[in-house]
Subunit: 357 residues, 2 copies
């Protein structure tokens, strides 16, 4: 870490390694010819998220068999600006299809959708979830968005099968408590919280059901040590839809570092808290290969107005922030500087990689 | 076991040891001067259920602290016709009260009520349930009526705390599956199913929510090996209320053996299935002292009409049964013969006993 203070303006510059965009959302994921792959990986790269773990669920369908996996392969070809990993989704009827050799070799994890409030197709039966737990290779990760009592079922299955599970988009007090209890008792569970869930509460955004209540949000901040990873996820997209604003596949990506870095200035987070949750922990949990010579230079403590570069809505457009991204460089080459991106589509598929950082 | 065939009428007589009435329900449990204690223990004894594990929840309140425990002690005094054990109930606010020395010495188990459909006061917070798991002595049993996802939470806590738990009144396919999965993975979980749940389905009894659906009932029979104990519970009482029939604290007790023994004649159960689930397993699970010189003589294969001896409603009044109770004797003394009871209130409190049969 290189860190120095610029005395004239009393701000700090700091360098992170390449960061990870966990559970990156692409609405048109499995639609042939979608531009989402280019959009999401380019905006990820431009803000220092140099690896994207793509959520296997789009708005209309997901990666649930070999066929849909290959559609995404072709959507990705020539359109990947950052490294990426693919995943597959568990359904009520695809248990056998997931044993396909391509699925096993070319996906990073199995996602078990259980949260009905997301609008995603979910699995209703714990017996089916259990079959997926029994059949998905034990050295490959399982991720779920389970909330409340479904979360308890999944954690029970993880405990009974002695395997690890990652819970994405935790946003309720009850859930972070259950994860905390489970961690205390040495269950191999990790979790991520969407950055938007940390900064935007339901009550302030027309009761958006994708956001935590203010009380839930307080509970999340109080249990920061339980939160392994900060994610973008699909909350920014869903929040925009709820508010009838213009949304984009890259909604929420740009806001990630400004929100987190401003919290550093306020003393609510440290730079190391961020590095752990956007690099160290995701790299470990998802067995991501290290990205050598990749640097994300940021500036903390300098006042700025946040101006989104795209034409989609942002909850913090034209508001004051105190942390910004300065430069992203890969192999000594600057790929993004003060908001301007020079990237070419050089991203690699790291789905099969298993090099722990 | 003494077993002989009476060739003239081709029926079989058989002797069971003293049987156990698990989770015996007393509506007026904590009401001073209630006659429920006498009623329930007398009718239990008269049908061979020579030990009653009393549910700590009545219709209006339960045993939740030392004060209510002592009310039940005085209700029991001089009114116990069979041996009995008391228990206590977990509430949102009685964690500390359960550490009372009398509660710990004079109750058999902790009941955690989670099934809202029963009308009982339930605990809403998994954090509170977890605190009870952490605080209730690990050598004392925990029982719950949790269903669905609450059941998953409880089983998770049992798994995380490496302690055993007994699930009472299992009546759904999903739940017996979850218990089956957990047993497969060596979780220390046991369960009981109400006898009424085995023989009466919701669709045939005006959609009574206390009964399983026909499909759930089939799932229970298919997983008989997962069912450790047959219980009476409060289902007969709740079914009667649902149908606006005359109910009694002893509703359902008399029907227990006739229903189970008739299933023996039909080849759906063996006598050993019954002995295991009304004596061997409950004695083991609840560490009940053996009752020496106690015999329950039954007759299987002889047609009879079931005529309840009380004035309350029975779902099988005046229907054909093929199994009946002949005699209950304790220490060589007949206490019940062909429906006539000669008992005196000689029951002992075995709450503190821990002699495994
Ligand atoms: Zn500077
Ligand atoms: Zn392909
Ligand atoms: Zn293939
Ligand atoms: Zn690294
Ligand atoms: Zn005979
Ligand atoms: Zn007392
Ligand atoms: Zn005391
Ligand atoms: Zn015995």
């Amino acid at each position: 870490d290189v860190s120095n203070v610029d005395y004239k303006t009393s701000h700090t510059t700091h360098t992170f390694p390449g960061l990870v965009n966990v559970f990156a959302f692409m609405p048109g994921l499995v639609e042939k010819g979608t531009t989402d792959f280019a959009l999401v990986t380019k905006s990820s790269l431009s803000v220092g998220l140099t690896t994207a773990l793509i959520s296997p669920v789009g708005l209309r369908g997901g990666i649930e068999d070999e066929h849909t996996l290959h559609i995404v392969h072709s959507n990705a070809t020539g359109n990947a600006y950052c490294n990426y990993a693919l995943a597959t989704i568990a359904t009520t009827s695809n248990l056998d299809k997931l044993q396909d050799e391509d699925i096993l070799a070319e996906t990073k994890y199995l996602f078990i959708p259980l949260d009905k409030s997301t609008g995603r197709i979910t699995i209703d039966s714990i017996a089916v979830v259990s079959e997926h737990f029994a059949s998905w290779p034990s050295d490959k990760l399982i991720i779920t968005d389970a909330k409340g009592s479904d979360l308890a079922s999944v954690l029970l299955l993880a405990s009974l099968h002695s395997r690890s599970v990652h819970v994405t988009d935790v946003n309720r007090k009850e859930d972070i408590l259950l994860i905390s209890l489970s961690k205390e008792k040495q269950l191999k569970v990790t979790c991520d919280v969407s950055v938007f869930s940390l900064f935007f509460a339901r009550e302030e955004w027309r009761d958006a059901p994708c956001l935590p209540t203010r009380l839930d949000q307080i509970a999340l901040w109080e249990r920061l040590s339980i939160i392994d990873v900060f994610s973008v996820g699909d909350i920014p997209y869903r929040l925009g839809l709820h508010l009838s604003k213009k949304v984009s596949p890259s909604s929420g990506i740009e806001e990630t570092l400004p929100l987190l870095l401003s919290a550093v200035t306020q003393g609510r987070l440290t730079l190391d808290d961020i590095k752990q949750r956007l690099h160290d922990n995701p790299a470990k949990i998802f067995s991501l290969p290290d990205q050598a010579h990749t640097q994300v230079e940021i500036v903390v403590g300098r006042n700025a107005l946040f101006e989104p570069c795209g034409d989609h809505w942002s909850p913090i457009a034209s508001t004051h922030i105190t942390g910004t991204l300065h430069r992203v460089s890969i192999h000594g080459q600057t790929v993004s500087l003060d908001g301007v991106t020079f990237a070419s589509a050089m991203g690699r598929d790291v789905s099969g990689a298993a090099v722990v950082v």
